[in-house]
Chain length 321, copies 2
């Protein structure tokens, strides 16, 4: 039970597999933490099950911390396109809640106001305000996980775009005749630099005999590949170098478009970032417009791991009018 | 001679081949116009010649309109990366002035204050405030010419990025193994959708016998190709369809990143836009994230032709603090 509840805020990050809830103190310290499995079913219930799960988590979190629901700002990060009215317009990783008016449903079920935002946008706010991007008013946050997410900070504020959908980086096409993506396009950035993309490259390397197959002859997961790279395995390192080149290629596009002074790399694939960072640091500067004439763009691994989204959601809630 | 000089502003657009100066009235009417050839030499004079030419044009323009230099705001659009201090950091199409402190040099030579901005950013401001993008706070302006330029409006303001370089759209790589670009990369968007890109596709079609060669056996220019398309030539129309597909592909990337509610297509290639627009209108919506679930993004040909940059520069000057 938290004895001094002054300046607390609640942040929740609804991930593709798990949902994390935090009670965050006035200097952003995590005071209480709760984790639940995210409902992934294809129910056509207009988001009712996801809403019920979220309300249950929020109630449990408040109870565990000895707080009253509604007494402190609540922010929720969702995996998908959240519009300015709080509608979850499209969310392939939260199918049963896709196309539903999440803000309205959640506030009604909870009986308390809250703020909704895209999950990667929340992570960007956390890294900008408290993390690796502190002091940079123009910042790009890239979350590398199963897919690739992103958040853009401009002039110290979240860049939301016209509808609230800005910063959807994963499906930027970088090779129009590249491998097919479930989204329908070919050569999305995500096909090269996400966990899925890296596993695709590992599978290809295994098929071509450049990489030993995994335990049961299965192809290697990104985390196993990172362990191999840590042991000095050349083939594994080569795959991360290749992914690093693609990361640099996409980042060069994004620097030309958004002109950040700093890029923060985070997400579930953080373990693998160390093997890609040297390649990115070498390849990115000559790819920028003007090359040597282009001012330096700082590159940093994220300060917050898997908590960035929930922490950022609590900050978004704090800032909400 | 302009008899009522109240609320006038001066706008200059320094293009790759010519420079256009305008005296613009309070309701954005063009009151006086002057055109000069842009100095394109490779002199290592730190921009002195370009500055002298600009001062001469501004003096002549003021004299012709009967105005005193310094009495009205002056805005200048430059083809290249202009940083927030007014330095022209990199300008491949204005080589002798590249890397020089243009704002300082110009103000000193002119003896009057002025505003500097990237040329495509100026065009975006013109279309946003007065043109085809009126009423859209989040707008993307694409200028199709020899190359491809862009300007982004967010929340009714020019999106400048951290250094002032944001919106460099032409060198967004959309096909990492595509044709080589003078910038050093491969598969820049510009290789497909600019005048140069369309001429490249026409040359390829001629070589493959799908398109009749031009007058002297030379490959066709984009304008000739547009004339052929207007006459119903299938091969010419096919090339614009192909360019239209690439335009849609790049625009889909940009919509995911910037989330505009409106896209304005302009620039020197405006004549050809009519042959690409039907393809873009058909191809873009299914390429957007969420496809049918994605709110409509309006597409409009620019309202201002070759004057957009200079007109926008006058508006930038008016808004300057």
């Amino acid at each position: 039970v938290i004895t001094d509840p002054g300046g607390l805020a609640i942040g929740v990050d609804v991930g593709g597999t798990k949902t994390l809830g935090l009670v965050v103190g006035p200097s952003a310290q995590v005071l209480c933490e709760l984790r639940r499995t995210t409902f992934q079913g294809q129910l056509r219930d207009g988001g009712a099950r996801v809403v019920a799960d979220l309300v249950a988590l929020l109630e449990a979190l408040h109870e565990e911390a000895g707080l009253s629901l509604g007494a402190h700002p609540i922010g929720v990060g969702l995996p998908g396109m959240v519009d300015r009215s709080g509608r979850l317009v499209y969310a392939p990783n939260l199918p049963s809640a896709s196309s539903s008016s999440m803000l309205e449903l959640l506030q009604e079920a909870l009986g308390a106001p809250l703020s909704l935002e895209n999950d990667a946008n929340c992570a960007a706010v956390a890294e900008h305000v408290l993390g690796a991007g502190r002091g940079h008013g123009d910042l790009l946050m890239i979350t590398l996980g199963t897919g690739v997410g992103g958040g853009v900070i401009h002039g110290g504020l979240l860049f939301r775009g016209g509808r609230g959908f800005a910063g959807e980086l994963g499906h930027m096409v970088v090779e129009a005749d590249g491998p097919a993506c479930p989204c329908g396009a070919r050569g999305c950035w995500e096909r090269y630099v996400s966990g899925t993309g890296i596993e695709r490259m590992a599978r290809q390397a295994t098929e071509e005999g450049r990489l030993e197959p995994g335990a049961a002859g299965a192809s290697l997961r990104a985390a196993e590949l990172a362990s191999l790279a840590r042991l000095g395995d050349d083939a594994a390192r080569g795959i991360f170098e290749s992914a690093g080149w693609w990361l640099a290629r996409g980042l060069a596009n994004l620097v030309g478009l958004f002109d950040p002074t700093c890029i923060v790399l985070g997400g579930g694939l953080s373990d693998a970032v160390e093997f890609m960072l040297p390649t990115i640091e070498a390849q990115l500067p000559p790819m920028l417009e003007g090359a040597a004439l282009h001012p330096v763009v700082e590159l940093h691994p994220a300060a917050f791991g898997e908590r960035a989204g929930a922490l950022g959601a609590s900050l978004v809630a704090r800032r909400a009018p």
